[in-house]
């Protein structure tokens, strides 16, 4: 049984000296900022690119296509019917317009294909947009000319959308926002991934610092190496917990505050544009932020803690085995493999969170912290899976900790000996 008084002294030192450190304060602030930046880059790009303005000259010999295109996008399509081909070519080359299309009657019959002559800019999404607009205009015109019954015409004109509502176990219907939850799960899994590496590294450096400073021998003349190890792992774990609670609190606050703030800054029209046709249909006045079930935060913290415990025991063993930072590479590599594999599996798991692959891989204790956290917000993970993964992780932690403690006990007193895997296995066998 560890001596609780000594354990709490060690715990306090490990926790408090780090809590007060600049590194902790800075990382607590910078990591969320970095995430906001990473998330806002694609959104920003989308906003900027949709704002990019291109002009396409339309030479309309049919007299019916241009009015339709004008209805679809008056900014983009301009009537240049009286211009000659040569004049339009010059204008494209001079950059006055971005391209032009000549419409003839044959094109409505489908006997020939409209051709866009353009400067080559704008990328694929621009071309797809133009293609869609033309298709719509030509199709509508052909329906018009075909003199078909209004019923059938209605069928064509109808935009069919899939609205989704998620029915919860409690029988409540909720707005389902798969994209949001998928992104949410991915971000949380990434946070766990980063946290496990960083907190693992903190443990490793802490152990190494004590070893290279030679203070470890003074301390082990007062406490058992195992007590020192446990106190350190718990102290740094508490630090991680503090950081997560700060982040979660800030996120909850932000999610609650984002809707009014965004509405205030952007104005309702802009939000409607962003939300697209769905929003217009229902006249949503503010940005809708899907709610996050509080239990998800609890799971996030629990998976972080268990994942941290598992990996920190491994990182501690590495810290004890080496004499300098440069020697850690070779030994850290095998630890990173399961973390990397789980990150590689994550997209698959997020796409099909109920597949056999997702279920099995997220139950593997070394993968659970990342993959379960990715699954939970996306799908309703049965409780037995969550419970089982906790049990498996706890068991894995106990086993790895016992192993690590043996390596640690010997390693911290081994100076100037290059620790190969063979050597470390030998340490485990020492009495």
């Amino acid at each position: 049984m560890p001596d609780l008084r000594k354990l709490s002294l060690i715990f306090k030192r490990e926790y408090l000296t780090r809590l007060r450190s600049k590194t902790f304060i800075i990382s607590t602030i910078l990591v969320p900022l970095a995430f906001i930046l990473i998330i806002s880059i694609p959104i920003g790009i989308q906003l900027l690119s949709s704002g990019s303005h291109k002009t396409i000259a339309i030479v309309d010999q049919t007299g019916t296509i241009y009015p339709r295109l004008k209805k679809i996008n008056a900014d983009r399509y301009k009537d240049f019917s009286e211009f000659s081909d040569q004049k339009l070519r010059d204008m494209v080359m001079q950059g006055k317009i971005d391209g032009y299309i000549r419409f003839t009657g044959n094109m409505i019959n489908g006997k020939s294909t409209p051709e866009l002559i353009y400067s080559g800019g704008g990328g694929l999404s621009f071309l797809n947009n133009v293609k869609g607009d033309i298709r719509e205009a030509v199709r509508d015109e052909r329906i018009e000319r075909a003199k078909i019954s209004p019923e059938i015409r209605n069928i064509f004109e109808e935009n069919i959308n899939l609205a989704t509502r998620k029915l919860t176990k409690e029988g409540k219907e909720e707005e389902a926002n798969a994209a949001f939850y998928s992104a949410f799960g991915t971000i949380m899994a990434f946070i766990i991934y980063i946290a496990m590496f960083s907190y693992g590294a903190i443990i490793m450096r802490g152990v190494m610092e004590e070893k290279t400073n030679r203070i470890v021998e003074v301390i082990t003349s007062s406490v058992k190496p195992f007590e020192l190890l446990i106190g350190k792992v718990l102290g740094v774990g508490a630090l991680g917990l503090s950081q997560f609670l700060i982040w979660i609190g800030a996120t909850i606050g932000l999610l609650a505050g984002i809707s009014p703030i965004a509405t205030m800054i952007l104005g309702p029209e802009m939000l409607q544009n962003m939300a697209g046709s769905q929003a217009t249909a229902r006249q949503v006045p503010a940005l809708q932020v899907p709610s996050v079930d509080p239990i998800i935060w609890v799971y996030l913290v629990l998976y972080f803690l268990l994942g941290y415990l598992i990996y920190s025991s491994l990182f501690a063993a590495v810290g004890a085995a080496v004499d300098s930072e440069s020697e850690t590479q070779q030994l850290v590599f095998p630890i990173t493999i399961p973390i990397i594999i789980s990150i590689m599996l994550m997209p698959q798991v997020a796409n099909a969170p109920d597949s056999t692959l997702a279920v099995v891989s997220s139950l593997i204790p070394l993968f659970s912290p990342i993959l379960m956290v990715a699954r939970i917000p996306i799908t309703d993970v049965p409780f037995w899976q969550i419970g089982l993964s906790f049990l498996l992780m706890a068991g894995t932690f106990a086993g790895l900790m016992a192993l690590s403690a043996k390596i640690y006990r010997v390693g911290i007193l081994m100076y100037g000996k290059k620790a190969s895997f063979k050597e470390i296995i030998k340490w485990v066998r020492y009495r």
């Binding site: 002294l9 000296t17 030679r214 203070i215 021998e217 007062s222 100076y415 009495r431």
Partner: protein, 306 residues
């Protein structure tokens, strides 16, 4: 009264027998020297006494109790490789270390203040170790060892890395502690330090205790079979002497151990042929000589092995 007692202690790492069936006891109020070359097993033994390592077999008792968390409190230990947390403040660090040794916060604070003042270091309390010079951090290290006022002090190679002034100061402190009734055990590979300070000693070689006892008795038992000679002239004649071992040789001095019952007068005669003799004296052998004779060419004196 034996305050530290080792009985048939063994410890091996893989195929290396670091400590091989060692028994000795340290008596209360004495300065006990563990000596031997590097790699002889001194540090492993000291770590076992401190309950940092666990013996494979045998028993270690301190004040009659088997070593464990409780006996760790009786000991102030300064390892050979010294170190402190670089980024912690002196006061916090000492508080932490002495609380780990069992002092309450209040006791620790009082004791630390006393010792810092005594070392003229009262204003170091909120300095980081980083900011201290090597000599200063050695003092902090020493306070960390003694702040909980233990009965037993264990120093592993305490003089290595110390400058002559700090070295002298440590010597004085060790003797002062002994005079206060504390027990001191220290290890060294430098024999002359043992000769100057120790009451008792245990000589280690290759994991075994090859010689132990009271320093004076050990020296006496070797008899006055060593010649200290001072001379002037060409020292080359020393090389021609047979059946002797010459330690501590310099241009005008030689410590000559006479082997195989050779006539010492013969050596004097030979020396007179070559150099001018200033001094020719029979003395007890130095510890270095004893060490060499124990582990080297001469066989171990059976009387000294229990």
């Amino acid at each position: 009264m034996a305050i530290i007692d080792l009985e048939h202690v063994k410890k091996s790492f893989g195929n290396t027998n670091a400590v091989n069936d060692v028994s000795f006891s340290v008596n209360h109020g004495r300065i006990f020297g563990l000596l031997g070359p590097n790699g002889a097993g001194k540090t492993t033994t000291i770590r076992m006494i401190n309950d940092i390592l666990v013996p494979d077999s045998g028993h270690i008792t301190i004040k009659g109790q088997l070593v464990g968390p409780k006996t760790q409190r009786y000991i102030g230990y300064m390892p050979e490789e010294r170190g402190l947390y670089k980024k912690m403040r002196v006061g916090e660090q000492l508080l932490y270390l002495s609380q780990l040794k069992g002092l309450t916060y209040g006791e620790a604070k009082k004791s630390i203040k006393y010792w810092l003042d005594r070392f003229d270091a009262g204003d170091w309390y909120s300095k980081e170790i980083n900011e201290l010079s090597k000599g200063m951090s050695q003092k902090v290290q020493f306070i960390a060892t003694i702040a909980h006022d233990p009965d037993i002090y264990i120093f592993d190679e305490p003089f290595s890395g110390l400058d002559p002034i700090n070295s002298e100061m440590l010597k004085e402190i060790i003797i002062e502690l002994r005079n206060k009734g504390k027990t001191i055990l220290f290890s060294t590979h430098r024999m002359e330090q043992v000769e100057q300070m120790c009451d008792d000693l245990c000589l280690f070689n290759k994991g075994k205790a090859v010689l132990k006892g009271e320093l004076r008795d050990i020296k006496r038992s070797y008899g006055k079979n060593t010649i200290n000679m001072e001379f002037r002239g060409d020292a080359q004649f020393l090389d021609q002497l047979e059946d002797v071992r010459i330690n501590n040789r310099s241009t005008n001095f030689a410590e000559i151990r006479v082997l195989n019952g050779q006539d010492e007068q013969q050596i004097l005669r030979k020396a007179l042929d070559h150099v001018q003799i200033h001094k020719f004296e029979f003395v007890e052998p130095s510890l270095t000589e004893i060490f060499i004779s124990v582990v080297g060419e001469d066989n171990i004196n059976p009387k000294e092995l229990a």
